[in-house]
């Protein structure tokens, strides 16, 4: 009987292990979607290439879901690909984030930009 109980408990433990294995890919996709939508929106609104940190952070805060955080580094390049400047948007997120990137031409098409963003749940 003791052997039976030991085997039973072992099998239940293994089953529980299978059952509770975390699956967070949907969460990751949700975060990626949020990041992508925010930076697409700011690109279309010609906010990103203003390189105005306060304006960009203000616009992000207007559309960011309450349970998420976003940080980004926006890099400005010459049309030859030389890095000219960069700004940090919000404090850099260091834990459990997904990252993404948006490449775009500024509104005047005289510079190119890359926004490298991170999104996480609060």
């Amino acid at each position: 009987m003791t052997v039976g109980l030991v085997i039973m408990l072992s099998i239940i433990a293994i089953s529980t292990g299978f059952f509770i294995l975390p699956d967070n890919s949907l969460n990751q996709i949700q975060l990626r979607r949020i990041g992508s939508d925010i930076f697409a929106s700011l690109d279309y609104e010609n906010v990103l290439d203003t390189f105005d940190k306060a304006a960009i952070e203000g616009n992000i805060s207007l559309i960011l879901p309450f349970n998420t955080n976003v940080s980004a580094v926006i890099k400005k390049f010459s049309t030859n690909g030389d890095l000219l400047d960069q700004i940090q948007i919000n404090s850099d997120i260091r834990d459990k984030f997904i990252s993404g990137k948006r490449v775009f031409a500024g509104n005047a098409a005289t510079n190119f930009y890359v926004a490298e963003y991170k999104v996480s749940f609060r």
Binding site: G4, M8, I11, S36, V103, A105, N107, A109
Partner: protein
């Protein structure tokens, strides 16, 4: 008692194995759906990238030719000859190189800066047959065009009023509206229904050369605007269709993105309006 214990153990063991079987099936199903979700996520990222490159290319294009769509028309605005003939291809090539170097995926922008713009779904093409920056605009493959509306402004004193050299009117033909401004005297405006297959020609006589507009002819409903003058004319060409939901792509150009590790590849036309 011992038999009861063994019997109990066997029953519990069988129940546990059943539970294990179910949870394993659940795990496998979960694993497979995770893989599908992951592929969806990568596809989503690829589509996002394509949209961002299209937006960048549209921004650059917009400096040379302003293209926009309305409910049932596509509108092109540019100077003729176009003063951005030199900077446009340079900017396009720079953006192509920049984007290809920075994509997270294998990216190829198959873009040639020849400025052929394909109106979809009609497939009519707005282009410069003798090269961008040259003096001719043409709308070809235009059999489904319902109406042209042309607005030309020439900032030059001495331009004389406009006259039709040839008209082939047809009440069932293509509708044609034209306004010519910037002339000495009052602006010229006219509306006609012209034959799709017999050519009509309108001349604007400007000192130093003419601006001529051809409609219809051997190629059904074709439009040609030719500025033989060195004076730059501002030209707004509105192309109307019977259907709505029109959009514009770069003709015969494409964005090719491959995410090798997921075996996902996508080739898209470059939509710019």
């Amino acid at each position: 008692m011992k038999m009861k214990g063994m019997f109990f153990s066997v029953i519990v063991l069988l129940l546990s194995l059943t539970l294990l079987g179910f949870t394993f099936l659940l795990f496998r199903s979960n694993f497979e759906s995770s893989a599908s979700v992951l592929r969806m996520g990568v596809t989503d990222r690829i589509i996002d990238e394509i949209k961002s490159y299209e937006n960048g290319l549209h921004t650059i294009l917009d400096k040379a030719v302003n293209v926009r769509t309305t409910s049932n028309a596509v509108v092109f605005i540019e100077d003729l000859p176009n003063s951005n003939a030199k900077s446009f291809p340079e900017n396009i090539n720079s953006f192509k190189n920049f984007a290809e170097a920075r994509s997270d995926f294998f990216l190829r922008l198959n873009i040639a800066p020849n400025l052929g713009l394909r109106m979809m779904p009609s497939q009519a093409i707005y282009y410069h047959p003798r090269g961008f920056g040259n003096e001719t605009i043409e709308v070809t493959n235009a059999s489904t065009v319902a109406r042209y509306s042309i607005n030309i402004t020439i900032n030059r004193t001495g331009a004389t009023p406009v006259s039709w050299n040839t008209t082939n009117e047809d009440p069932n033909g293509i509708a044609f509206d034209v306004t010519v401004g910037g002339l000495t005297g009052t602006d010229f405006t006219d509306s006609k229904n012209l034959s799709r297959t017999s050519a009509s020609r309108l001349s604007i006589k400007v000192p130093g050369g003419n601006i001529e507009i051809y409609i219809g002819g051997s190629e059904n409903s074709r439009l040609v605007i030719n500025n033989t003058n060195s004076i730059v004319a501002f030209v707004k060409t509105s192309v109307f269709f019977s259907q709505s939901s029109n959009y514009v792509t770069l003709n015969d150009q494409s964005i090719n993105i491959t995410a090798g590790e997921y075996n996902i590849s996508r080739i898209d036309a470059v939509r710019v309006a």
